[in-house]
Every structure is written in C-alpha cells, then in structure tokens.
Symmetry: C2
Subunit: 149 residues, 2 copies
DNA sequence: GTTGGTGTTTAGAATGATTCAAAATCTGAC
DNA sequence: GTCAGATTTTGAATCATTCTAAACACCAAC
C-alpha cells in the first residue's frame, strides 16, 4: 500500500529538513510517503494508522512531531475546518479548500494568482499579510467526483 | 461596563430566537449584550468573564449554550483560526478576518460583493457553496490601529 | 393558584485532540 | 568507540468543548 519515496522525493525531504539542521529519519520518510501516497487530507490519526502499516512500532507522538516539522519547513500544509482535527496536505501550488459538509471530505480548489491578488487588495493600509486561507463550505453535486487530489 | 440591550437590539434577539421556538432569557440577553458591547471577537471564556460582571451566577455551560443558539439562528458568527479557541462576532455584513500574529487580535476586513463573486467563480462545476471563510494572517504596521471596532 | 409540559440553566463529569516531560534511542563527528 | 545533539517513545497532562442529569423558570390549562 505505502510505497517508499522516489529518489526525487527523498531529496526534496532531505533538502527541506536540512535548513533547520534536521535529519531524514525512517519515521519521517514513512510519514511523508503516507502524505504523498494519498492526498486526501488525512488527520493525524489517519496518517498514524496508515504509517503503522509499514512501520508498526511508530508512535502517535512521532507522527505529531513529524508533521509539525514538515509544516515548519514548508513541506506540508495544515488544513483546519472549524475546530475539527487538523488535516494535512503536501504543499504545492496555492490553493483553497472546499469542505463537503455531507461527506466531510476536503477538496483542493486551484487558486489563480489574480484572485489571490484581488484578495490582497482588499486589505486596508497597514495590514501586512503572510498567508491567506480560504475555505468553502457546501456540498458537491457531481456523480463523477474525482477530486480528492 | 456592560449596558443592557437597546429596545431595538432586544427585538432583534427576540425575533431571531422566535424562529426556532426559542425564548429571550436573562442569560441570553447578557451574553448577547457582551458581544455587542465590545466587538473584539472574544472567546467563550472572555464572554464568560465579561458576562459574569453583570450576572455573577452565570455558568460557563450556559455561555456555550447561548452562543451556540445565536450561531444557530444566524445572530452571531464563529471565527476560527487554526485550532485556537473559537471566537465570536455579532454578524453583520460579509467580511473576512485578519489575525495579527503578534498580538493575537482579530480584525474585520470588509468584503466587497464583487470579490465574493470572484471567489465563487473559481469553484469548478458541481461545487455548491453555502459559505466562504477567508482569513488573513500577518501583522499590522499602523500605530493608529483603531480597528477592533 | 396549582399542575404539567417544554425549554433553559447549572455543575460536574467525560471526551478528544493535542502538548508536554522525561527516559530511551539513534546519528554522525571526532 | 564515545559524546553531543537530535529524535523517538510512552504515558501523563492540558485545554476547549460536549455531555448528562438534575434543578429551574415560564406559561397555558385547569
């Protein structure tokens, strides 16, 4: 189920971690590969369950640690909806999230640069923003919903 | 510190509650007036502290209940940032939130209709949205920051 | 004005996600 | 091989929130 990282992916991990003088460990590899394997915005617990399949001794605290580390070095992004458990997605292009209230599933929504720009423009002078989070709530109508990626 | 509701405000409360066959109680009035008195997006606990000043016997559970009721009838809006405690603001125009990471304070950002429209437009077909949440993170530069309302 | 019924409040226990603490383990440099 | 630092582990602790069950308040019907 959970394949190892490709050479390229390991390098990415390696490099991202290196900045903070942090190391590539077996646990971090497994956790990262879980994230890459199925990009369905898993919770910590889901990551934990999946990671255990290939590394049974792994502890929950370590999963928390790894994910925190990844977020810290910009490899991964946190996704929060209301006060539900935090979910994680491997960072890529800027995107918004759509949370389907009937299924609980989270979908990525591509976020064009100009929309981001428009958003930034509504800030009054004096507000300096580092990040913008956009989340839609609602439900999906499509039968053919191939979108958890 | 905490003044009573104006006639007009009580009517608003009254009407909003009436829909669900719910009643105006002393506790609800106090909690609502706390929200209106200082629109700085207080947490449940902050509301609790403030409300106690005018109603010492009030319990925390009741504050939770009242706020939940208000959210349910659209009188008040929840504001979440990451997994911090939920904050509340009396609902008015559509707006985004700016969370100042150095002070922890939350500011309302007016959200023009056309921006909302633009946002809606980035959703692929099949996504039906009920609500959109936009939150900025960053810090403010203004000395003259008169923005918590 | 008492009786019921319904909605509300209360205190405290329970839950659940997350964080912390401290000991055990690993790693790489010397 | 040894040491220092980073990492992992287990289990306990924290914190916001929800639940539970009992006490209350209000109002309509009698």
């Amino acid at each position: 189920m959970i394949q190892n990282l490709t050479e390229h992916q390991r390098e990415g991990l390696q490099e991202a971690l290196a900045h903070g003088g942090q190391k590539v460990t077996a646990q971090r590899e497994v956790v990262y590969s879980v994230l890459l394997a199925k990009r369905d915005h898993p919770t910590v617990d889901e990551v934990f369950q999946r990671a255990r399949e290939s590394m049974p001794g792994l502890s929950l605290a370590t999963v928390y640690n790894c994910l925190e580390t990844f977020v810290g070095c910009g490899l991964v992004r946190q996704v929060n909806h209301e006060r539900e458990s935090t979910r994680y997605c491997p960072n890529l292009a800027p995107h918004a999230h759509f949370r389907d209230d009937s299924t609980g599933r989270v979908h990525d929504i591509e976020l064009p640069a100009n929309v981001l720009q428009t958003l930034r423009s509504i800030l009054p002078a004096g507000f300096e923003t580092d990040s913008i989070e956009i989340s839609f709530h609602g439900h999906t109508k499509n039968k053919t919903s191939r979108h958890s990626n």
